[in-house]
Symmetry: none
Subunit: 225 residues, 2 copies
């Protein structure tokens, strides 16, 4: 809860704000909103530790450029500009003002979250996507921890790595060979059946959630909710 990154979304259209909020919340960010430039500045100064601002260019009263300029007087917080068409980007102006990224509308969820992740990574904030959620299973890559329904689950190193690999490749049938190549060191030449043992332990530790690890007979395993 408390180490969720805060993102301030500034747009005059409530539909757009909702859209952004939905995507970002799904990616485990905390979202603050403002519907115009003045409110944006207010919210920004009232809240500590805002990790990123997503700013629409076209707004009444104070446009995105002005808000950006104002904020840059005091802060280096990363700013992503939302522009309607690529011509509107005016990259030169943006760079002078310290804009970090642009996203032109309409954008895909993928683009949005990718840019956000990239920018947070670049500005060295905690890796944005260090938390992966899949059903009731939640994995924190950086902390190397795992919870199921909020309950902490103790996983060994290999178990954790294996689960992570499964989740990163959810919906894909994985052969034992592939699993070995990716989860074990490349210099491991042992028995592939050791995977079975780890799968067994994982399933047991995950409880009912462990059923997401499916056996594909004659082939390998697959993670699927």
């Amino acid at each position: 809860m408390d180490n969720m990154l805060k993102i301030l979304v500034v747009d005059d259209e409530s539909r757009m704000r909702k859209l952004l909020r939905d995507f970002l919340v799904k990616k485990d960010f905390e979202v603050l909103e403002a519907c115009d430039g003045e409110q944006a500045l207010e919210v920004f100064y009232e809240n500590k530790e805002i990790a990123l601002i997503i700013l629409d260019v076209m707004m009444p009263k104070m446009d995105g450029w002005e808000v950006c300029k104002e904020i840059r007087k005091n802060s280096k917080v990363p700013i992503i500009m939302l522009t309607a068409k690529s011509g509107e980007q005016n990259e030169l102006l943006g760079f002078e003002l310290g804009v970090d990224e642009y996203i032109s509308k309409p954008f895909s969820p993928k683009i949005l979250t990718a840019r956000v992740d990239a920018i947070l990574r670049r500005t060295n904030q905690v890796d944005a996507s260090s938390i992966v959620k899949e059903g009731s299973i939640e994995i924190d890559k950086s902390a190397h921890t795992c919870t199921v329904n909020g309950e902490n689950v103790d996983l060994s190193f290999k178990e954790f790595e294996l689960l992570l690999y499964f989740i990163d490749n959810k919906g894909i049938a994985l052969s034992r060979e592939k699993i070995l190549n990716n989860v074990w060191n490349y210099d491991y030449f042992g028995d592939a059946r050791t995977i079975d043992t780890h799968v067994k332990k994982l399933r047991k530790k995950l409880g009912p959630a462990g059923e997401a690890i499916k056996t594909i007979w004659g082939m390998g395993y697959k993670f699927e909710i």
Copy 2:
């Protein structure tokens, strides 16, 4: 094998190339190499479907920026720049040239693969069409699953492989021998009539859609809608 993503690694130091290759190969990428800018362009234009270029900035003859500029004239292929120190990043220049990401040396394997994954995800290249559709039958090769009219159909390993072979060769009459050679291991010397049993099961499981598997009397089978 053939749908592995190709990554072009460009660096004048062979040690660095080997390092990158080793990590990337482990992550199931196909790695191409070039030791300077000119060779990079050559390799890039001679190979179709390079999914990503990792480019060292400091190189003799033609540096990374120039290579990037050259490639951007024709292609939007994602480019990751390898820089020695963060100062060398020169993000403004990079942004104008269309660099997608930076990695500063020295880097950890984790950083490398994380960035590569992120960028491929962003550019939507990850697992291209693994889904084959034929009439009401839909096969997902990567998930190793099959649906008919959206309904999930549970197929065994051999059944799945057999159906895939049929669909890959739709409209073509296949002798039992040919089927054995392609779907069974080359060291299988059993009865060819075992195919009949599998065809029977397939037809049954596929329901009405199973009628697409046609018997060619005295010859073998053919898949045809």
